[in-house]
């Protein structure tokens, strides 16, 4: 008896895209879906009712951060993440693998999920060409798990599949993830292959460690940008009988690489189970990845860039700092239905941003999340209406045209 029920309500002919309904212990979700990231049991600057109001159906919490602070036992004592945070719709937690990677190897080498970018660090800034420097110091992988130092106080900790699952059971999300080793775009084939063997062993161990019946467990497909490894991983993870899938780790050196990876992986995953692409969520990615079979997304970009003054509009991303908004009495986006656009002008928001006012973080986060969450809802409707390609073309033309101005 699974904690999850996934029903595909419509498939877009000629693609792997589908609209679905995912039933979880804390609610029903329409997929494709974008989930805001609430790393430490809070989507930064926002109250749960605002997330509900803007249409969020599920949010993601990070097991690593919650284990560090306030501690998974404490969250369990409060009745789990839902009661602790006041967010009563579904939660998903990751397994901690990516944070161990990103706070260890990734942070030391300045790379993210795609080699030349840091999608988690502002949504795609170009960085210097990646190169392998010294061995990572903050985390050490062995065959049974990962030992690492806390990014808060340097204390020594260890995650194994059993520990990660135990933590996630204490946190009590609706969907939890298998523990994996998240490799970097800088890792070669040999290393990535060895890591994948660990990830596969750990996937099995994660399944074995699971004790709660009211949580869905997703397996994670790894293998970097290597076709043979991704194919092998998709086949193996699919064979284990997880409730759904997450696609993690290095997605290559470009968006094209990411698309290829999805084209290798998605056709091999059981069609009737949901697929989550971890950590991706720029508007152009959403269209491309849904088309290739992805059902679920999470990404910190919308809220992180919001706090830095970068706001989504139908006409592209704009920086609220721009002088042209000083006298602007219109909303961020005339077509937007969010409370920020209903209540505040660009001129006032620019003032709040330049004055370093706390309120800006919240108002900008509401807007960007509304934009992305509802973009995915519109994409879903376009799948059902079979107008996906027209919608995509119209959106991307307008979004990119103005973005170049």
């Amino acid at each position: 008896m699974s904690a999850l029920n996934f029903e595909i309500v419509h498939r877009l002919p000629g693609t792997l895209a589908r609209a679905g309904v995912l039933t979880l212990p804390h609610g029903v979700i329409e997929t494709p879906v974008f989930m805001p990231v609430g790393t430490k049991a809070t989507v930064k600057a926002m109250e749960p009712f605002e997330l509900e109001d803007l249409g969020a159906q599920i949010i993601l919490g990070n097991a690593y951060h919650l284990y560090m602070r306030p501690g998974a036992e404490l969250v369990a004592e409060f009745g789990g993440l839902h009661k602790f945070s006041g967010w009563h719709r579904p939660f998903l937690t990751d397994s901690g693998g990516f944070q161990v990677f990103s706070l260890g190897f990734g942070m030391e080498h300045g790379v993210g999920k795609i080699a030349k970018m840091f999608p988690g660090e502002g949504g795609g800034e170009q960085l210097a060409p990646p190169r392998l420097k010294t061995a990572p110091k903050l985390c050490k992988v062995d065959e049974d798990g990962v030992s690492f130092r806390s990014h808060i106080d340097g204390s020594l900790h260890r995650f194994t599949p059993a520990i990660s699952i135990q933590i996630q059971e204490q946190l009590g999300a609706d969907v939890i993830l298998a523990f994996d080793e998240c490799t970097s775009p800088l890792h070669d084939h040999a290393y990535t292959k060895a890591a994948l063997a660990r990830t596969h062993r750990w996937a099995k161990q994660s399944l074995d460690a699971k004790t709660r019946g009211d949580q869905a467990l997703f397996g994670i497909v790894q293998g970097g940008a290597y076709e043979d490894l991704r194919l092998a991983s998709a086949r193996y993870i699919d064979s284990l009988g997880f409730d759904g899938y997450a696609i993690g780790g290095s997605l290559g050196e470009s968006k094209a690489d990411m698309h290829h990876i999805l084209e290798w992986v998605c056709p091999l995953l059981a069609e009737g189970k949901p697929r989550h692409l971890l950590g991706i969520g720029e508007p152009e990615d959403l269209f491309a990845c849904i088309e290739r079979g992805v059902d679920m997304f999470d990404c910190v970009a919308p809220t992180r860039i919001a706090r830095h003054g970068s706001l989504y509009t139908q006409d592209g991303k704009v920086s609220i700092r721009n002088l042209r908004f000083r006298h602007d009495q219109g909303p961020i986006d005339a077509d937007c239905g969010c409370t920020t656009c209903k209540r505040y002008t660009r001129g006032y928001l620019r003032h709040l941003f330049l004055a370093d006012e706390l309120l800006f973080h919240r108002l900008s986060s509401i807007h960007n999340l509304y934009f992305i969450v509802n973009l995915v809802k519109q994409i879903r409707q376009s799948l059902i209406d079979e107008t996906f390609f027209e919608f995509k073309a119209a959106f991307m033309t307008r979004f990119n045209a103005k973005a170049l101005v």
Copy 2:
């Protein structure tokens, strides 16, 4: 024809305390009243609807800060503070005198309105004994006004009564204040007397400079902690025919000094006009000052200490950082009706605070403002019911008893 109507609905026998109704262009206010401080056209971390929900009737904006950023002309272009900020109930702006003082002299000498404290800097921490150091560098007072450097970029600026009134007319608050020289507890009688002569001349000039008919103008009583000067100031300011009064400047070296100053000043002010005590607002001050005839309060303390984790309860102030709250699944204050207390536990709030989460600022500000705003409402009701002294004794006993624990 005044922009203000003030009606006293009940007087508490044997005191100067009164419950009133103050009608302003943007709404009707019940006095005594506490107004949250929205320095830069935003009460930090909060949306206007939350201020309305917690019962705020009027908020204060600072002319100095708004003149610096975004500029008073810009606010005027947006239709004034109400339209610019989205707060549609009454606004009061100060004249800039106190900021010129506090960012110039006050900042250099580490003193506030009461010599040994900095009520604006956390609500009363003890500082080293004050002493006069060098001449202030950030501001220079002459007979016609004050020249000062911007705290943002060091650029040179000048305020005179006419300029302050012009700025406040551009900002468009319901109540504006005369421009004054705000002296420090460190100033001697001779300096304070000379400054008072300027303040009185500037009061007349402020009245003369006023052009808008839809704003009420309050005169400011100064004179430091010197009885002869406070008496002279109260008499003179009262003679000029302002719509109401503010009591500003140095309030001595202790709460007892502050009480004496009110006992000198309030009986000399026209009974039928409202009296605002600038920058004061700790719970014990509210009782003592209302009893002595004050109708209006503003203070940054409730929101500032909130952001630093200090929360009001009926049982005294508590620091949310305290380990005893780690496992606490109750609200901040079981008797509180604010949305923070309805929705969140002490344990979760402690987590947000320790994790430096933006949401904490907002949830803690909502709570502390609800506490203070509604405490003043309860005090008002106790004036009408003539239960003020019983209410004060019960509140202070409970508040102080636990505060000592």
